[in-house]
Symmetry: C2
Subunit: 367 residues, 2 copies
């Protein structure tokens, strides 16, 4: 478990109060509204350096700060009570953030809201050189189905999102392989279809002929209500039961799946990678493709008896622990496994690393 904690630390909001005055560096004045703003909202904006600028009317406030990447940046007030300010440059991709108004941590009303850090809050998109991979294009689109499935083990009706590829809903007898894809610590089942853009990544890959059409199932993985600091006592069994004994049979009964190990994959990011590893080790008979995104590694001896294993995929951002990932994959390859590594250039423990990881893994699955 120890190895995993190093990775999760990145995901936990930094509680220390770091305060940064506005940088004296020249700010490039080419700010444009973030692509995940509320309809019609001009702020937050992002410039070519990746700085995030936000603005809010708060005529009677004593101070307003932009709280992003664990740092709080002071905004300045004009004569109309409008506060404006910007952050240091951020990595390309999606970032969670919030505002601090006189000590109150609140969402920025200018942005759309995304589930991360255990709550729905603001997000901002710093344009990435490869943002085309998740752009909404004029291609055939799959669907994201919101489903509710009965779970006896937790005595609840649980939610999942199911991506079906273009053409699935036309009358056809075709059956599809399935990827079970898990979110990270303090995220939920909306995180992959929303900020992860899983559906658009797939639509684009399928349109380009680069991925085989398959189904993706995304559900809530913090079944035992892990609380901050509670991962040390993490018990995989409750979620393993929901996933393998309840959700998989439900999906196989309600979607046109290829319902066998050969056509089933599991992957996850951060804590979802840890879950993927634990479940695949406990249940070597369920999945044939394993993916860990910024979420640990497999050692050859851990999976030596996995007879039907077809691929191990391990990834992380270049700002995480790329050597650990590359070495792990080399070890697996030397032991005779079909293993692939992927390093996301210029990104850390954030969603752009994981979008890119899905984009890579999807091209390798079920082939």
């Amino acid at each position: 478990m120890k190895l995993f904690f190093r990775f999760f630390l990145f995901a936990i909001p930094i509680a220390t109060v770091l305060c940064a005055s506005q940088s004296f560096a020249q700010v490039v004045e080419d700010f444009k509204p973030s692509s995940v703003n509320q309809p019609g909202s001009e702020f937050p904006q992002v410039n070519s350096e990746g700085r995030v600028r936000t603005q809010i009317l708060a005529p009677d406030a004593n101070y307003v700060q932009l709280d992003i990447g664990g740092v709080k940046y002071d905004l300045t007030k004009d004569e109309n009570g409008l506060w404006t300010g910007e952050s240091a440059p951020q990595d390309p991709g999606f970032h969670y953030y919030q505002l601090n108004i006189d000590g109150a941590s609140v969402p920025d009303p200018g942005s759309m809201f995304f589930y991360g850090a255990c709550r729905y809050g603001s997000g901002v998109e710093v344009p990435a050189p490869d943002q085309d991979i998740f752009a909404l294009k004029e291609v055939s689109h799959g669907q994201v189905h919101e489903i509710l499935f009965p779970s006896e083990s937790t005595n609840s009706q649980r939610r999942a999102f199911v991506y079906t590829p273009p053409g699935y809903d036309q009358e056809s007898p075709e059956q599809y392989p399935v990827l079970y894809l898990q979110h990270g610590y303090c995220e939920n089942e909306t995180s992959w279809p929303r900020q992860g853009r899983a559906n658009l990544i797939m639509d684009n890959l399928i349109a380009e002929g680069k991925a085989k059409p398959f189904i993706i199932v995304m559900t809530y993985g913090m079944t035992n209500d892990i609380e901050f600091g509670g991962l040390r006592n993490f018990d995989i069994k409750p979620f393993e039961t929901v996933l393998t004994d309840e959700l998989i049979p439900f999906v196989d009964a309600n979607f046109r799946t290829l319902a066998n190990q050969e056509n089933r994959a599991m992957a996850g990011l951060s804590m979802g990678g840890m879950e993927t590893k634990m479940i695949t080790l406990n249940r070597p008979d369920v999945f044939s493709y394993y993916g860990l995104f910024s979420g640990g590694i497999y050692k050859p001896e851990e999976i030596e008896d996995h007879k039907n294993l077809k691929l191990v995929f391990i990834s992380c951002g270049s700002k995480e622990h790329p050597d650990g990932v590359k070495n792990a994959v080399t070890n697996l390859q030397q032991a005779g496994f079909n293993a692939e590594s992927y390093i996301s250039e210029g990104t850390a423990h954030e969603f752009h690393t994981w979008r890119r990881s899905l984009h890579q893994l999807a091209q390798l699955l079920f082939k």
Copy 2:
């Protein structure tokens, strides 16, 4: 058009600054967390009188207000910088609201976020005597599909949500009738599936054998980007084209629909009612069932040539204009139409009126 404006006025956030000090009336201390709070969030809370109490830490704020129902209620600060306060009693059902921190209008981080008033913001649920109609129960559940469809007329890929009833995704040749269901002014395609609970209302009715299973399609109806105050220049044609020439054929091609007038209904709330009326009058060949929820009436002479019309359903809250609705339906009945009225007891121009209206209409459709 004039008649409609009276109804829409209710939907437009009241811009006048009403300030209310905390009431001196005795407040009943039986507050419980709202059912649409963020996971694990204790506030906002609601008591048996329907008062909404919220709480936020803002140690350096000069004032904090709860802004709900067009009234701002002052919160009071304790020695730790925690602000608490409550509203006057609210009607049963769902309400949009926000916080005001030193002049900044922001979402309450304790609540989930819903699209209304032209932005995603906070919502609170005041328990209603009939909340059972949209409860998540141990019944078979349908699915809510998020789809993207190509729209030539607007040169865009547009989003819709499609509810399919339980059993739809099991292998079966069954085809279903379809209700096209529109949101109100400054709401969007998420409003019916989220705060409207359309899917759960249908799941429960179908489980009780009270509604025939049918598909519901919900898309964005403000196609021509209506701005505040812009309804006077409202042109239905852009949305009519998207709905009838683009979305309906797409749905018929991608879902197992009964693709004919006899099995097609349209309904909408508030502005969505106005759209329903305009589109059904312009295109009497497309739908057989018409529903207006707090969104106007039909006069007999307007629909006298609608040969295939099977039902006109008109509803509103008892705090709106119930006599206008009842008289209109009486007139339609006297003219020989199959018309039904429904008055939602104790509610105004808000979502609980419309959930109940859907609950009523669904029991009458396609029978």
